[in-house]
């Protein structure tokens, strides 16, 4: 740091004036009186409380979705029909996917955004606090509705999380209209959340913080929010067309009436592929925060990280048909989607190399968040490589709809996105609760998770290459060994998440080593100027930000 720059002023400067009983407490402000009593959580407009609600909700959904996955793994433990009927098995695979994607991973990232964006940009709250409350409370309604379909006549959704028509229209269970309503609610929640995040980032940055001074987590969320606004209407449109096909006699996706089932797949994946990046870009931001902290170096290639994120987001709109190589695309389209898909490996590679360059010659220490972040980098890269394999159109004809695909997207979503969320939780839990997460439990959680997750998903590459189809409750004998391993790994990974639950509960009860304002030696950023735990109201006065001293992009 140049000697001409002022040192950081007293940490208390960053404390909320109102929390300190300062002058701002008298200013008319919508969130001065925190709601209390039983309705407190229903009515809260505080970004930290709503962030916590999001995170706890996604944790609950993670466990529900996990139980569904374990039903699947139990059934696949041995060949033959073991525990459940095929109809129920189909509901389990479908619900597992829907709950994990829309109920666990997406809300977890939104929860992290709620908690951390205002702290990282020095804002007192989100730009639209009441809308924020509404976005959250739509989710419990949506997922209660979705889960309730399991108890309805004919069962819940059984057509796969991609709900391809006509499986999800002509041949769907009667509960499908409830599923559609649940998707609508979750979609509205995402859109409102995205608008709120964009409004917050673009308007509430502390004076002096330019866009290129923002932490990478803020950048990745800004871009993710634009992706959400762009593709959630497409999802809403496609489920509305399903609703019309089912209930009102239209034939958007029904060949008998002049429609086209392939149109469904185009529309779904036009939403679905950007959706994949919605679930990974914030993870990139988290890793870009954690790796520099524990390597005690600034992030290598800040600007290239931002441009890489934006390129990935833009490319995500022109690659959707790589999910549909086998529907009978003309050769030109196969080639176009093959090359654009491979192109995505370039900005993604830039990111991985930047993280490695950040680690290079750093003073690395292996605290819990760093363990998860490093595991993320390795395992996400494995998922990325199988993605490049799947991008090769002629090879995809062999891989399509096999366990190879299952292995690929679980590698990017579980040891990828989920590990990033866990890393973020371990990284920011001291800021949220004021105590360090338990090192012992955390270490056990990490190692059991790494072993469990790889034991679950790595053998799927082989069963997939050997031709085992996905979404089938029974399989040929030659796949038995791989499935045995996958099931053991699945139960190991699933049960070891209870350790994480224990870590979180201990932290919430303030059991553990007290954390100082900056609990990590090498951490930079406005959030670490606040005391731990962060008081309910922070940054009523925007904190001082001098780019030459505080920006992650400074030279």
């Amino acid at each position: 740091m140049s000697s001409t720059l002022p040192p950081h002023s007293d940490k208390q400067q960053a404390l909320s004036d109102s929390a300190a009983g300062g002058a701002a407490a008298s200013a008319a402000d919508h969130h001065q009186s925190a709601p209390s009593g039983p309705l407190r959580w229903l009515l809260t407009t505080n970004h930290k409380e709503i962030g916590s609600l999001y995170l706890l909700f996604s944790l609950l959904m993670f466990f529900i979705g996990g139980v569904l996955a374990l039903v699947v793994r139990a059934e696949l433990f041995q060949p033959g029909l073991m525990f459940v009927q095929p109809e129920f098995f189909n509901q389990m695979t479908t619900m597992h996917g829907l709950i994990m994607v829309f109920g666990a991973i997406m809300p977890a990232f939104v929860g992290l955004a709620n908690w951390m964006l205002p702290l990282q940009i020095g804002a007192p709250d989100m730009a639209l606090p009441r809308l924020n409350n509404f976005s959250f409370w739509l989710l419990p309604v949506a997922f209660t509705l979705l889960l309730s379909t399991l108890f309805m006549e004919g069962g819940g959704p059984n057509f796969g999380w991609t709900f391809y028509a006509p499986l999800s229209t002509t041949y769907a269970p009667p509960s499908t209209s409830f599923f559609i309503l649940a998707m609508h609610l979750a979609g509205i929640s995402s859109i409102l959340g995205a608008i709120n995040i964009i409004a917050t980032i673009l308007n509430l940055r502390t004076p002096g913080m330019r866009l290129m001074d923002m932490p990478l987590f803020v950048w990745t969320w800004l871009i993710t929010a634009f992706l959400l606004i762009a593709v959630m209407p497409v999802l809403a449109g496609v489920v509305t067309m399903m609703l019309l096909d089912i209930n009102f006699g239209t034939s958007f996706f029904d060949a008998a009436g002049g429609g086209d089932p392939v149109l469904f797949q185009h529309l779904f994946w036009f939403f679905g592929h950007p959706e994949v990046y919605i679930m990974i870009l914030p993870a990139f931001g988290i890793i870009s925060a954690i790796v520099p902290t524990f390597a005690r170096k600034r992030l290598f290639g800040y600007a290239s990280m931002v441009y890489a994120t934006a390129s990935i987001a833009l490319l995500s709109f022109v690659v959707w048909a790589h999910h549909m190589f086998t529907v009978g695309l003309p050769l030109v389209a196969e080639l176009f989607f093959m090359y654009t898909t491979m192109l995505i490996a370039v900005p993604t590679g830039v990111k991985v190399f930047n993280w490695m360059a950040t680690l290079f010659r750093g003073s690395i220490s292996f605290e819990l968040p760093m363990l998860f972040a490093l595991a993320f980098i390795v395992q996400f890269t494995i998922g990325g490589l199988s993605g490049v394999m799947l991008a090769i159109s002629p090879a995809d004809f062999q891989y399509h709809d096999t366990y190879f695909v299952v292995a690929h997207f679980h590698y990017v979503l579980v040891p990828g996105a989920v590990f990033a969320i866990l890393a973020a939780a371990y990284y920011w839990l001291p800021k949220w609760t004021g105590v360090y997460p338990s090192e012992k439990l955390g270490q056990a959680h990490f190692w059991l998770s790494v072993i469990g997750v790889n034991l679950t998903f790595f053998p799927m590459h082989f069963s997939g290459l050997a031709g085992m189809p996905r979404r089938i409750p029974d399989y040929a004998l030659q796949f038995a060994d791989f499935n045995l391993l996958s099931s053991i790994g699945g139960f190991l990974f699933g049960t070891s998440q209870l350790l994480f639950l224990a870590v979180v509960i201990l932290c919430m009860r303030k059991k553990g080593k007290k954390a100082p304002a900056n609990p990590w030696e090498g951490a930079e950023g406005l959030e670490w100027q606040l005391p731990s735990p962060a008081p309910l109201h922070t940054f009523d006065t925007p904190p001082e930000f001098i780019p030459e001293r505080d920006s992650p992009s400074r030279s």
């Binding site: 608008i195 308007n203 209407p233 497409v234 529309l267 389209a333």
Partner: protein
């Protein structure tokens, strides 16, 4: 923060929200436009294997005797309609430009009268828009009494502009029940 700058921030937020909502509306509009766009795109390129829904005129170009195309017919009946559809010849060789007639036989194997419609699809899809139909039972719904048999023609022409690498065209007809659409008991 002073009251002035607070107001300014609020105005900024309102502006951002307005713009995001505009973007959202644009995307809703784009989604709605995708359906007709897809149809037009497929009509122009034939990508989804659909052929024209109305009778087309004979293209007056020369018959290209230098090559012949194998045209195959595949038929199947969708669940819920007790009909059988069969092509008299499942395969024929035609020269591009030649006007050819192929006969199909419909049989209602059920105990009741039904409405049905045959929906065509051509593969490879590159050939779909070069498959011109002058007359086809697939242009309208058919009604067959219980046990009724009916011969119906398809008159078609393979456009001489058909790309040379396409040597074979497969026309698949799927019979769908149209009882519900026409208000009759299934």
């Amino acid at each position: 923060m002073s009251a002035n700058s607070r107001q300014e921030v609020q105005r900024g937020i309102a502006r951002t929200v307005r713009r995001s909502l505009l973007l959202l509306l644009a995307m809703v509009g784009f989604t709605l436009a995708l359906i007709p766009l897809y149809d037009v795109f497929c009509e122009v390129t034939g990508l989804n294997g659909k052929t024209a829904a109305q009778a087309q005129v004979i293209s007056g170009e020369q018959i290209d005797t230098s090559r012949s195309i194998e045209v195959q017919f595949i038929t199947r009946t969708h669940a819920g309609l007790p009909w059988a559809l069969a092509a008299e010849n499942t395969s024929m060789r035609v020269h591009p430009g030649e006007v050819v007639r192929a006969d199909f036989e419909f049989v209602n194997l059920g105990q009741e009268a039904h409405w049905g419609k045959a929906v065509p699809s051509v593969s490879p899809s590159e050939g779909a828009r070069y498959f011109r139909k002058m007359e086809c039972f697939c242009f309208r719904e058919q009604r067959l009494e219980a046990g009724e048999r009916s011969q119906m023609p398809l008159v078609f022409q393979v456009d001489p502009d058909l790309p040379r690498e396409v040597k074979q065209l497969t026309l698949a007809y799927t019979l769908y029940s149209h009882d519900q659409a026409l208000g009759e008991k299934p």
